[in-house]
């Protein structure tokens, strides 16, 4: 399989709260991602796992450049995103869908319009938009909710709208930032099945951030174990078990 996502020594730090100063009196920079390299293959479901503050969400947001890395390269499907202009980056992002913990749907737009919005901005032919929206809603089993507003849906349904919206322009990559953390266990299971089906049917590469080991065990092919901004190891997931080898990695895995 081809390499879909290649991170080359990416780093990211943030300026801390003003009250925290270094010894020399300068503002403190907090390192969210230490130099990290990672290769994710086409069609893979890849987990980013760690406690809060491990830098997993930041690492995910580097992949579509919602956060720009301080150094290093972000190569998606052969293109280094760090070299692109603002408008080239917008085009590249049509190829990278994203779903969020808090769903982030437009609350004043219907389910249909939320999905159609992503097609419009990615330049999908307008006469085909209706069919494509309905097809995507069928994939997530929500065709009967097309005219509803997000507030009329349950959490699980909202997240499925998020998925339909993200996959509508047929992206090659789907980024999922804690997509099940706001959902109950039963809803989580059905959402994971939905993601698995999408991966198998559409061949989309999925990168999922989570702090729930069970999500990694049920869904992922491999997972990166992160701790305090560092990549400890990339573990295989076989027979529903995360094959960690490092001491901290093993500690992370047995927590659940």
């Amino acid at each position: 399989m081809n390499d879909m996502i290649v991170l080359n020594d990416v780093t990211k730090s943030f300026l801390s709260d003003r009250s925290i100063k270094d010894k020399d009196g300068k503002p403190h920079w907090f390192t969210a991602v230490e130099p990290t390299s990672l290769t994710i293959k086409q069609g893979e479901i890849f987990g980013l796992m760690g406690y809060s503050g491990a830098g997993k969400s930041t690492l995910l947001r580097l992949i579509n450049m919602l956060e720009r890395p301080d150094s290093g390269q972000v190569v998606i499907d052969g293109t280094d995103l760090t070299t692109l202009s603002a408008s080239e980056l917008r085009i590249a992002r049509h190829n990278i869908g994203m779903i969020f913990q808090q769903f982030n749907l437009m609350s004043n737009q219907t389910v249909f319009d939320n999905v159609a919005f992503n097609l419009k901005i990615s330049g999908y032919p307008s006469r085909d938009i209706h069919k494509r929206v309905m097809d995507c809603l069928a994939i997530v089993d929500l065709t009967d909710r097309a005219g509803h507003y997000p507030a009329q849906l349950s959490g699980g349904q909202k997240q499925r709208v998020g998925i339909a919206r993200a996959i509508a322009p047929s992206p090659k990559v789907l980024l999922a930032d804690e997509p099940t953390s706001a959902l109950d266990p039963a809803t989580t299971r059905s959402l994971l099945t939905c993601l698995r089906d999408i991966n198998e049917q559409l061949g989309v590469t999925i990168v999922i951030v989570t702090h729930e080991m069970s999500v990694i065990r049920r869904l992922c092919d491999r997972a990166a174990l992160l701790h305090q901004g560092q990549l400890l190891e990339v573990a295989d997931v076989r027979d529903g078990l995360i094959q960690a080898t490092t001491p901290i990695g093993k500690g992370l895995v047995v927590e659940d």
Partner: protein, 228 residues
């Protein structure tokens, strides 16, 4: 309580003034219409840029935010009657005269713009940050993101227009100072200076009805637009 004769005498006094009342009503409508429209456009643009240039937004720029915020604060610091006098050279240059309802509309529009700018900024701040982020992650242009923001904030924006409109109605009472006319001016001239209390009471009732209907329609529309 009023006796029948007193009441009919009061109504007679109002009837004598009916031409003035009608023309004051028209003046108020003209001032309110022009100033609200202009304030929505100018204040809306100003408010959007205030928001976008603030911290963590995509036009984030401390200098720009400082300048826009400074202008807004400075303009909002003017008491309205002083703004009318201070702006008279400007209104003369634009509409050819420093007095009358059109000149007063311009002053109202400027005062309203900076007031509305802050309301717009505040409304946009209430849109969850995640929505901007999701829109960015899809590769939307900045202009599209602004449209999404405004649409998400739309019911709050309608309520802000309602507040703007009622504030301008209240400000317009002072427009008599530069010959703007209008209901408030009529109430002051007849009701206060000429001791015709019934004129004052009548106009206050008319103004109250206007405020109540503006607020009620604003609430109704905001409610209809709110799908959150």
């Amino acid at each position: 309580m009023l006796t029948g004769t007193e009441l009919s005498a009061s109504i007679d006094k109002l009837l004598v003034l009916r031409k003035e009342i009608v023309s004051a009503f028209i003046d108020t409508f003209v001032m309110l219409g022009i100033s609200t429209t202009v304030a929505i456009v100018i204040g809306g643009l100003f408010g959007v840029f205030l928001f976008l240039s603030s911290d963590r937004q995509f036009l984030q720029n401390k200098t720009l935010y400082g300048v826009l915020g400074g202008i807004t604060n400075f303009m909002r610091a003017f008491p309205f009657v002083i703004l009318m006098i201070a702006m008279s050279p400007f209104t003369k240059a634009i509409v050819g005269t420093g007095i009358g309802p059109i000149a007063a509309s311009l002053v109202l529009a400027i005062a309203g713009s900076f007031y509305f700018a802050r309301l717009v900024e505040q409304n946009l701040r209430e849109v969850p940050r995640g929505i901007i982020e999701a829109t960015e992650s899809m590769g939307a242009r900045p202009f599209t993101i602004i449209k999404v923001l405004l649409n998400e904030a739309r019911s709050g924006l309608v309520l802000s227009v309602t507040i703007l409109c009622i504030s301008l109605l209240s400000y317009s009472a002072a427009a008599g100072m530069i010959g703007g006319g209008g209901l408030g001016d009529l109430a002051i001239r007849y009701g206060y200076y000429r001791y015709q209390t019934e004129v004052m009471i009548f106009i206050v009732i008319v103004l109250s009805i206007m405020v109540i209907s503006i607020q009620a329609s604003g609430n109704w529309l905001a409610n209809r637009l709110d799908k959150r």
